[in-house]
Amino acid sequence: MSVIPSPDGSGSLAGRLTRRLSVTFAAMLAVATAAFTLVGWFDRNVEAEMAAGQFRIADWVIEEMVGEVLPTVLPLLVATLLVTTVTVRHSLKPLRRLSRTAAEIVPGSGAIRLDEAGVPDEILPLVRAVNTALARLDAAVDQQRRLAENAAHELRTPLAVLRARVDGLAPSPECEELAADLDRMERAIGQILMLARLEGIEMATIRPIDLTVAVRDAAARLAPVAIDRGIALAVLAPDAPVPVDGDPDQIGQALANLVDNALAASSEGDEVEITVSPDARVTVADRGIGLEPGTETQVFERFWRSAASRRPGSGLGLAIVAEIMKQHGGSASAAARPGGGAQFALAFPLRAAQLPATRSTA
């Protein structure tokens, strides 16, 4: 609690209250001091001493102050300050508790509500209004989630039926082509559903994580596919943890899309390098044909496909990566790799506080 107002003017309520009360009490005590001093004046044989020629006002004031008034007033002043501070702090404790709870709230992640117990009457309407708003938000997120699940189900089931039918046919060249067409459709639908989900209000579960761990886990999942194609996957990361706020699922998804592209651009015997740097950047680099010059920003647009691209794809992979990075408060970028190939970088905002083992105590 700060008694001195902060630069933006609002300052601490506790500080403000304490300051005002202290000043008021101090003023009251000063007035009382003056009054007592005056009373003392009338109480003494001032006239007698004046007549005796021994009276000096300055001496008298000092003696009066130091001797009688101050020993009474000063302890009172200190006691007042202490009591004021403690009382104000204690009264405002419910508010601090509320803001701690509020800081934990992530809409749609569970019914966290502000506790109405012990809240001062003046703030109760505010707390209730917040809880109502949270309930409405949770309901909206829930509805969107159900909608997304239904959409996924409705789209994927007919596709599954089609796939099962094709699988049941006797093998033939037409069959192969049908299966390939189906692959394309399945992939495109998968990407579109993912993008829709990312853009919905269902937020990523962002929490403090070690970026290196998330990247290594993703690489472990992606490596078998790379090895099947004769391409090596490598992760270079610092020994010390790299703390960021992130959703490991989504980071894994972004990496999967980038690695997918990198693998498609690479040939057997090549290596795809994933680098994590201490300033929370993740780079995926390949030695493929590289980017068309001038398309470094365009590639992240939805449905954008390079004219030179031979392989089937929905053109959404990088758009999804960009969206994921946006949700993380970071960015995605593409550039030509020195020496040939392309490199894609994910920049995460740095996290000042500590890692999961020590939660911040606000």
Binding site: R156, A160, A164, A219, P224, A234, V235
Partner: protein, 226 residues
Amino acid sequence: MRLLLIEDDDELRTLVSKNLERGGFAVDAVGRLADAREHALAARYDAIILDRRLPDGEGAEWLAWLRRRDRSTPVLVLTARDAVSDRVAALDVGADDYLVKPFALEELLARLRALLRRPGAALGRVLEVGDLAFDTATRSVAASGTPVVVPRRELSVLEALMRRPGTVVTRSSLEDAAYALDEPVEPNALDAVLSRLRRRLVETGTSAEIHTVRGVGYLIKEAKRP
């Protein structure tokens, strides 16, 4: 091999049943959890294929019910949701594997075969990758039947790799397997062990290969036939 297929979409259920039967399985197919419950109570199945969403309830809840009475029947869950968290959730509830719709018949068959193999294989006594066999009871290794002498540390690493074929085993898992808790581990010691193990395997001419994923770990798998 008898399977129980629980899928509410009639067409999909019929087609997948037919495909599975052609693949050599006997299939009981139902479209509702209530029917599935009856079947599960009445007969023993070698494996169960379960859709996550059904008209009369959630597949996950039915699975929880099943697991309370039967921990051993392998269950493969089908779903339209493909996020990693959904997969993990399914496995946590007691599924043994997870397949996203739409899926290729080949993949369903392959995963079923893997599920049905398990009791003897990955969790069991003899680990197999290609023609390489590791008998965990006698701690002996053989390539195409010919015994191979493998020193202790390399043996521990090989076992860790063969328990999860085709999957990357992280450096820390391998270090845990090869070194006791109080032994100091040099950063490059593990790589040296793997390097020696790889050379040893190559000399036997086995079809099992160890691949390096730099910065992550290693994996073992059967080499692709040229």
